[in-house]
């Protein structure tokens, strides 16, 4: 049997000192009781310090070390039992202390390596940044405190943070509107209005955590409070981290209408996405119910796809082009082919019909004026004449009069008629003489808008000079002479009428009047040898005394009706083609009359069936060439642009004329008109198109949902509302006034899939925080060879 190993009596139990740094290095069980000193040095000498008792040295070895030794001390009093020296070893405590020192040293060394190998001076990366930001540069690209290294950011750690200023570094690349740090980038006033409006119409159904959070950590509540980028976007979370991820609860920190989820409390869609009326006026109800059945299967579409398609990203549903969707039925309405009454073109220039007889009788000096004209003053011409304030007033006076019956007109009225008449003549004359450049200049003055060359060209639509000259030749054969005399201050009375001229014998017929001119201008009112000149030279048609070809003089002209022996003369001479005797000549004359008749029977309007300029009676028209005719569109645009400006009065007349239900082109039948905030009108020439540089608040990827639509297809979500006053909602020109053809979207349709456990119900699935402009970072590339490029290459 073995005895007890451990004893605790004072004789056999040494006192342990585990807190000492060093312990004896002797073999186990052989440790000396002296032990090393505090610095780890062996202090072993002898097992005891003998003491002298009388004349003897006595051993003092304690009982714990075996008691008195048998040999006893030496004669000199030294101990006879020396202790072998050892190499003391560190105690456990000492070793642990060393481990602590080593760990701290290794940690500091690790930090030194990390800081030493960082890209930027003294700045280790706290985590990889996203791939999208991997090329932004060093840390100082985003952190202002990192510019000068570790010293800077260590100091910055004790400075007050300025998150708004730091967000400016994000905005160096990210262009998110003019108020980038406002909530949603919206102006504070607008945000307040929106918030107040929503607060009035919605109840707060926030879940308890959000209510609690609002109560414990309320937001400042200021609408102009900046929202630094780092509020939502946290970097250094790894290369594929979703920087735009946002918890649903966080969206509701600011929002007034708060709720639990899309399925629980989310407001119904109400007017979404029909908040703004359609740019193209297309009444689905009337088309589905009436027009398509009438058009028949050949023309009417059979599915929504016939008229709608997705944009390239599959997000928006767009209307297909006019050519592929509307043309089959509507092109005739635009060109006028289907128009039964009224002109098919736009009257651009006209000679207004006047009561010429009265004017003549009352001595109003307007010169020559076609008595047969019954035309009115067309709006374009009214716009152009109205530039001059005097004429503008006169036109207002004339607007209340019947210009074809001026018997009861006052002298003032007649004076106004006179001024307008001369203004019309001047306008036409200047157009013929100065060209379309003058006309476009007048247009620019009239609308008070700077027009570029493209717009000017479109506004005159390559008006041929021959059209103008031809019209003037018919309407005012002596206009050049009259304008010259009028501008010289001469009063030019109305020439005598047909009946009067026979009596007085002073007023020449228009044809004869043409020969009165003495100048050699376009229409021959000079002394030179012009074609129609009535000068004394040998002109072809002159009635002078020379031997002209067609002159009615006494000379022997070829076609003259004189008494000479002309070839075609109907005189009494023995001419070769004398009518009395030559049957062939008579037949030729009949054929010529027949040809004239054929030409005169041509309908000018029908002749211009494919669009362009034509003249009918006393008006010069332009007929639309087809859909999106640039002439009409440009006139509509500039007249719309006069609204809200000083030229609005002039522009309104033209705009109203061009947008009536029966106006040529019928543009306003389908293209809606919006009143902009500035007051100008904006004609929506195109249906909605995706704007790549703008992000909407709410978006819906249509194409992603096609695969899960039921048999109803588009009608799964877009259900027709047969009672909606769709067309009526376009009358007030306010784009926000809208009665959609479709009933509000049913939120439950979305909820069927979009739950937290299903297809997800994150706010950001459908809503963009940064709505509005989304411009890419500006790219400025210096051209090769430029100074900047050279510097870079160096």
């Amino acid at each position: 049997m073995i005895g007890r190993l451990q004893r605790f009596d004072f004789r056999s139990s040494p006192y342990e000192r585990p807190t000492q740094a060093w312990v004896c290095g002797a073999a186990a069980g052989k440790e000396c009781r002296v032990g090393p000193d505090g610095r780890g040095r062996c202090r072993a000498t002898a097992e005891c310090q003998p003491v002298r008792t009388g004349d003897r040295w006595v051993c003092t070895r304690p009982e714990t070390a075996g008691g008195k030794c048998t040999d006893g001390p030496r004669p000199d009093g030294s101990c006879a039992c020396p202790i072998p020296t050892c190499a003391p070893v560190p105690s456990l405590r000492r070793r642990r202390h060393r481990a602590v020192m080593w760990t701290v040293a290794v940690t500091i060394g690790f930090l030194a390596i990390v800081f030493g190998h960082a890209e930027a001076p003294g700045v280790p990366e706290p985590g990889e940044i996203t791939v999208k930001h991997s090329n932004v540069g060093g840390c100082d690209a985003c952190h202002g405190t990192a510019a000068e290294g570790a010293g800077d950011w260590t100091v910055a750690a004790f400075a007050k943070a300025d998150p708004v200023a730091e967000s400016g570094r994000c905005l160096n690349c990210h262009k998110v509107g003019s108020k980038p740090l406002n909530a949603h980038g919206v102006d504070a006033d607008d945000l307040e209005k929106l918030t107040v409006a929503i607060r009035e119409r919605t109840a707060d159904a926030a879940p308890i955590p959000i209510k609690l959070a609002s109560a414990v950590f309320p937001l400042p509540g200021q609408f102009d409070e900046a929202v630094p980028c780092a509020t939502c976007h946290t970097e250094h979370q790894g290369p594929v981290f979703d920087l735009t991820g946002m918890a649903n609860d966080r969206c509701q920190a600011c929002h007034t209408a708060r709720f639990s989820s899309l399925s629980d409390g989310h407001p119904d869609f109400a007017d979404f996405p029909y908040m703004r009326r359609t740019r193209i006026i297309f009444d689905h109800n009337t088309h589905f119910g009436r027009h398509f059945p009438e058009a028949g299967e050949d023309k009417a579409p059979t599915s929504c796809n016939a008229c709608h398609e997705t944009d390239p990203t599959g997000t928006l549903m767009l209307a297909r082009s006019f050519a592929s969707s509307c043309q089959d039925c509507h092109i005739g309405q635009i060109t006028g082919a289907q128009r039964a009454t009224g002109p098919k073109g736009i009257g651009v220039l006209s000679v207004p019909g006047l009561d010429v007889e009265t004017l003549r009788d009352r001595g109003v000096p307007i010169g020559e004026w076609p008595e047969l004209s019954e035309a009115g003053i067309v709006p374009v011409m009214e716009l152009l004449l109205g530039v001059d304030e005097r004429y503008a007033e006169d036109l207002r006076v004339l607007g209340s009069m019947d210009l074809l019956d001026l018997v009861d007109a006052t002298e003032a009225d007649l004076a106004a008629v006179e001024r307008v008449a001369w203004a019309v003549k001047s306008l036409l004359y200047d157009l013929a003489v100065l060209g379309i450049g003058d006309l476009s200049g007048r247009i620019e003055d009239a609308v008070r808008l700077p027009l570029d060359d493209v717009a000017r060209a479109r506004l005159v639509a390559s008006l041929p000079r021959d059209v103008v000259v031809g019209a003037l030749g018919d309407w005012f054969p002596n206009i050049a002479q009259e304008i010259r005399r009028h501008r010289a201050g001469e009063r030019i009375p109305v020439p005598a009428g047909e009946d009067d001229s026979a009596d007085a014998g002073v007023q020449p017929e228009p044809e004869a009047a043409a020969a009165d001119a003495t100048d050699g201008d376009i229409l021959g009112d000079d002394d030179g040898g012009d074609i129609l000149g009535d000068d004394d030279g040998g002109d072809i048609l002159a009635d002078d005394d020379g031997g002209d070809i067609l002159g009615d003089d006494d000379g022997g002209d070829i076609l003259g009706d004189d008494d000479g022996g002309d070839i075609l003369g109907d005189d009494d001479g023995g001419d070769i083609l004398d009518g009395d005797e030559d049957v062939a000549a008579e037949e030729d004359a009949d054929e010529a009359d027949g040809d004239e008749a054929v030409l005169s029977e041509v309908d000018e309007e029908a002749w211009a069936g494919l669009g362009g300029w034509y003249r009918r009676d006393f008006t010069l028209y332009f007929r639309p060439t087809g859909h999106a005719d640039r002439f009409i569109r440009t006139w509509l645009d500039i007249s719309a642009a006069t609204y809200g400006t000083e030229a609005e009065d002039r522009g309104r007349i033209l705009f109203t004329e061009l947008t009536t239900k029966d106006a040529p082109g019928q543009c306003a039948k389908c293209h809606s008109i919006d009143t902009e905030i500035t007051g100008i009108l904006n004609i929506k020439w195109h249906p909605v198109r995706p704007k790549e540089d703008r992000k909407p608040f709410t978006w819906f990827p249509h194409a992603a949902h096609f695969g899960m639509l039921r048999d109803d297809g588009c009608l799964t979500c877009h259900r027709i509302d047969p009672q909606a006053p769709y067309q009526k909602s376009f009358e007030d020109l306010d784009p926000t006034t809208f009665a959609s053809n479709f009933k509000p979207l049913d939120r439950q349709v979305c909820v069927e899939c979009h739950t937290a456990d299903g297809a997800g119900d994150a706010c950001t699935s459908c809503h963009n925080y940064h709505a509005g402009p989304a411009l890419p970072p500006a790219l400025v590339t210096p051209l090769p060879g430029s100074e900047k490029a050279e510097t870079k290459m160096e």
Binding site: E16, L111, T145, C170, A213, A230
Partner: protein, 282 residues
């Protein structure tokens, strides 16, 4: 109040406190604030409290509650710190160099602390069960760790003498041969640390089975010596058990304490960096 109930109550308090921090952080985040700052400072404060336990041990003369109380505070504040740490890191692995080192250091300190807490709780009872019998006392007396090498040497000497004695008295080398081949290496130094940690005595059964197998070749004297040798084997194995457990009780602090100091260095750098680069954070 039972020990287990007290432990359950304290742990519940710690877990509840951590959940409260989690809830506050969530509310904080909802209101568009960065909760990392708040829970980070709470974590740092709890780490300071944990470190104060070590400081308290350096000033035993001060009347600052009993070490036992400090130990309890250390354990449950440690559990709270673990909870706040996961709130702070969001149960995600870090991807920055320093953050990864910081994460690893905290986790290592926490794991070693958890191990230490469990082992410090379970080991004393096991040590008591294996204590050296003293009279009629129910539980034996624990060995002082520093004395174990001397006792082991004492037993080794006794075993060697017993082997020599067997040769002299039995005129047989059966026991001595067995001693030389199997028992001398066993007595020479500590053995079977892992087996003792897991409370296994498989090695002891093996030795004793081998020794029983020798009995048939021994006379009565030889059998008596073999029984005595078996008792020495048992005593040595008990010392090995004590050494294994006490070494572990002291050894886990070789991980926990040095890593704590390393963690402190990393935390200081982390806080400086966070505030140095946080100008953009609200």
């Amino acid at each position: 109040m039972s020990w287990s109930w007290r432990r359950f109550r304290n742990f519940s308090f710690a877990a509840l406190a951590a959940l409260v921090v989690l809830a506050i952080a969530d509310l904080y985040e909802i209101m568009l604030r960065d909760a990392s700052y708040m829970d980070g400072w709470i974590l740092l404060a709890s780490m300071v409290v944990l470190a104060m336990f070590n400081a308290r041990k350096k000033f035993p003369m001060l009347p600052l509650l009993a070490a036992k109380t400090w130990m309890q505070v250390h354990i449950y504040v440690g559990w709270f710190a673990v909870g706040v740490f996961f709130v702070h890191t969001g149960l995600e692995l870090p991807n920055g160099t320093i953050e990864t080192a910081l994460w690893c250091a905290f986790v290592a300190v926490a794991l070693s602390g958890v191990f230490g807490a469990f082992f410090s709780t379970s080991a004393p009872a096991r040590l008591t069960r294996h204590g050296e019998p003293v009279g009629r006392r129910r539980h034996g007396e624990r060995f002082i760790y520093e004395r174990i090498p001397a006792f082991r040497a004492e037993i080794a000497v006794a075993a060697e003498e017993l082997a020599n004695k067997s040769v002299r008295e039995t005129k047989s080398s059966i026991i001595s041969d067995y001693y030389v081949t199997r028992l001398e290496p066993f007595f020479r130094k500590p053995r079977n640390v892992l087996l003792h940690l897991f409370d296994s005595d498989k090695h002891l059964h093996t030795l004793r089975s081998e020794m029983r197998a020798l009995e048939r070749y021994l006379d009565d004297k030889g059998r008596d010596i073999l029984i005595e040798m078996s008792q020495l084997v048992g005593a040595k194995d008990n010392l090995d058990f004590y050494r294994a457990l006490q070494l572990t009780l002291k050894g886990w602090l070789f991980v926990h304490i040095p890593l704590t100091y390393g963690l402190v260095v990393l935390v200081v750098v982390h806080v400086l960096m966070v505030y140095g680069f946080s100008a953009g954070a609200p």
